[in-house]
Subunit: 331 residues, 2 copies
């Protein structure tokens, strides 16, 4: 096992200086501190203090995702994670991040300095600095909806889009719809691409024709509906599937603006089953992601990674929920 | 919740008869017993006795897989499962099955009658009667290397073939090999098909040409090598990847029979990293599946299903291990 002395030898500096660097003391320069941290990480050093104290601290980094009240996507994910962590007696810190934090400090340094044994990353995209660093991290890390190739310290948790989307297409197909549009989330996201492919596969499987104009990437807010719904309607869509319930609320508003009714003229399907889905009028047919279970599973995966079990992927089933926003195609 | 009385009402028979049927009493006919069990299962009845006693019994069904000593594939999987189960205080029975048991008794009936809350199925194929019944089961069930669509009570655990196979192809490509053969396992298996696709994808990714003659399905025993290795050699293969270490032992024997050496003339790669892989001479380069972790993960997944967490897939990372059976292509 790598010790503080090994690091001091490698760098040709005093053991006390290494110790100061690892413990964030103020009487050494920032350059030396960073050098100590980088070397410690490169050599696979895990703070002895951390191990000796039996520290059981993990954190959730969250970005680009609302989580502060139960109406929002991230809320139950965090609750689920904390529930499972509490059972195994781990402390969880929730840390909102931003691009500045990510450029100021390397991911591994941040983790080592702050004594976290692992992290769950929510709402990050493949373009984030920290996500790019995950190719080489040795810190046990779980990502929601993102996958890092060939690093045994990193796992991915998510919901299987294929089955959920296929159930939704089946439902619309059974109702007689032939022109089904799909308003996806942002393009630079693994999960959006998976859903796009799942949609196209399912359309073909049901003997329908995937039409380019009816398959569009938007972004994960209601407002994007106004950019795409007019085109969908013009091209004859009678049903619109959306990559989130929030997008669906925007789509319904836009359909009404065109003097059409949901579901009499246009059927709409959401994704996620946020609390709002059942409160809307008409209530929203949607594809449920069980967010509490996502959080619980993320913790189990992280706990496994901390103990050397290299899980690469854990996917939950999606559940299709029929409500009032879908109906037979108008003949 | 469905009670014994509900079942009695549905069938128009006495509560005492239903109770006898559920408890495997000898003084009712086999037909009545089966009718009671079928109805109980259809109505979603879970034995009250089971719940009241806090029974925590699960089982491992095993078929077509050796598991009795540490040299064999199933051994550590079962050890890992039992380790995790013991921590959570679950009893585990290991039950070897065969086609007769599967035709004599329905899966759900067997589980209800014997008071098991869930099962882990090892070595079953998609053609097995019980696997076919899993489309509709309500019994929490985990399969190794097989996937059941759209049933939230069933999960799949396995090793990610893509990364392991891609690492192996990279390794051979770096050693200068251009004609790489793949001797797969049995054709009627989901995991064999995944590995086939993974191999083809990786060959193309490395700028090589997938040749039909060099990609063959065999079966999971050393003996299948003699049917395919002569053809591979004739077609100019300089490296042979195998879907298991046991197949690789057969391939090496066959290569030697042709007066060629491993790795000087032909490189060979296995899959699994059974104990034999490091004991062979030359020792075998292989793609490791961590079988203890597979067992542990299967239990975690099953425990989740019992508690209503619908995990559909859990995949472990494969680890590529370089030993002596691979070397530079002979120029």
């Amino acid at each position: 096992m790598v010790t503080i002395k090994d690091i001091a030898n490698r760098l040709g500096i005093a053991v006390s200086t290494v110790s100061k660097g690892l413990n964030n003391a103020s009487d050494i320069s920032d350059e030396t501190r960073q050098l100590v941290l980088d070397t410690a990480i490169e050599m696979g050093y895990t703070s002895r203090k951390l191990k000796a104290s039996g520290s059981r601290k993990v954190c959730i980094f969250i970005e680009n995702m609302d989580y502060e009240n139960i109406e929002q996507f991230g809320y139950e994910i965090i609750v689920g994670f904390k529930l499972s962590a509490a059972r195994r007696k781990w402390d969880v810190s929730v840390i909102p991040t931003n691009l500045t934090l990510q450029t100021e400090e390397k991911y591994d340094s941040y983790m080592l300095k702050n004594g976290y044994s692992g992290a769950f990353l929510l709402g990050f995209t493949l373009h984030d600095d920290w996500v790019k660093q995950l190719n080489k991290t040795t810190v046990p890390t779980v990502l929601l909806d993102n996958y890092i190739e060939k690093n045994a310290h990193v796992g991915y948790v998510g919901t299987d889009s294929n089955e959920g989307i296929d159930s939704a297409v089946s439902h619309l197909h059974d109702l007689g719809h032939k022109k089904i549009a799909f308003l996806n989330g942002s393009k630079n996201s693994m999960v959006s691409e998976q859903r796009n492919q799942a949609f196209i596969n399912s359309i073909i499987k049901h003997g329908l024709v995937p039409e380019e104009k009816l398959i569009q990437y938007g972004y994960y807010v209601p407002d994007c509906a106004k950019d795409y719904v007019p085109g969908f309607l013009e091209d004859g869509a009678t049903a619109i599937m959306c990559a989130s319930d929030l997008i669906a609320t925007g789509v319904i508003a836009e359909v009404l603006k065109h003097g059409l009714r949901v579901p009499e003229d246009i059927s709409v399907i959401g994704f996620d089953d946020l609390p709002i889905a059942s409160q809307l009028s008409p209530s929203l047919t949607t594809i449920r992601q069980d967010r509490t279970d996502l959080g619980k599973s993320a913790f189990l995966l992280l706990d496994g990674l901390v103990h050397g079990i290299s899980t690469s992927k854990l996917l939950l089933r999606a559940k299709f929920i029929t409500r009032e926003s879908t109906g037979p195609r108008k003949s």
